[in-house]
Symmetry: C2
Subunit: 146 residues, 2 copies
């Protein structure tokens, strides 16, 4: 299904630019998030990281996740299973669909959402500066299987 194509090198470059020192742990973590087909929590990322680097510290992963989130490279998703899972951020595509069967995330064109927000701003009189939309259901593939 969705091809969350992320370029690890871009991420490393972004980290470097932000003044963060680029280390092996970081490169590993970035790779883990970039490659994962499903949203990962910090805890899960830690588990994966230890498979190749057993001595990786838990706190390191949590700190790294925080940095990646602050830099906007990963994005926290707010869903059924809690609010501690992250997906790589794809530029300008914020509308996220999560399949409740296979767990995979798909990024949808967010233009309709932008329109909706503009419309709501007009009607309500509020100034809307940020939004979170998550969609849940069965993805095209899982519908076939079921």
């Amino acid at each position: 299904m969705p091809s969350n194509t992320i370029n690890s090198e871009d991420w490393l470059a972004a980290l470097y630019k932000s003044g963060v020192r680029v280390t092996a742990v970081q490169a590993a973590l970035i790779d883990i998030f970039a490659r994962s087909e499903v949203p990962l929590s910090a805890e899960q990322a830690w588990d994966v990281a230890r498979r190749s680097r057993p001595k990786t510290g838990r706190a390191t992963v949590y700190r790294m996740v925080e940095k990646l989130e602050n830099l906007g490279l990963i994005r926290r998703i707010h869903g059924y299973q809690g609010c501690s899972h992250f997906v790589p951020t794809l530029p300008e595509l914020m509308m996220l669909f999560i399949c409740l069967d296979c767990g995979r995330a798909d990024y949808l064109d967010s233009q309709p959402l932008d329109d909706l927000i503009q419309q709501s701003e007009h009607i309500s009189g509020h100034r809307i500066t940020d939004s979170r939309l998550q969609l849940f259901g069965a993805c095209a593939v899982c519908q076939q299987i079921a």
Copy 2:
């Protein structure tokens, strides 16, 4: 601003109908959520509850919040400050705006969201069974003040 008009009696009736025993603590908690102008966490609801009933147990509040959520009387919001705050559920109005200045919640007409979801279903091929949309910004009142 928004008038989250909730009828406590309806809630108690819903509880009663669900087989839950109606007690003083429950009535108090329902009142707290119904009256609050801002989303409350279980912890915060506990704090409020103890003002009038100092011996109220923390666990009781957590259990009660869970029940109210399961019954659909309150709804967890997913926002900036975390994902552990709740607002009373207003029937059929799921689109929630949270003011980042005053913290208050406003319910917007969710029809546009329903349309958007239908549209996305068509385009993506996924079957969408649930959604979470949260909007953030400055409410009409806070814009005046600033």
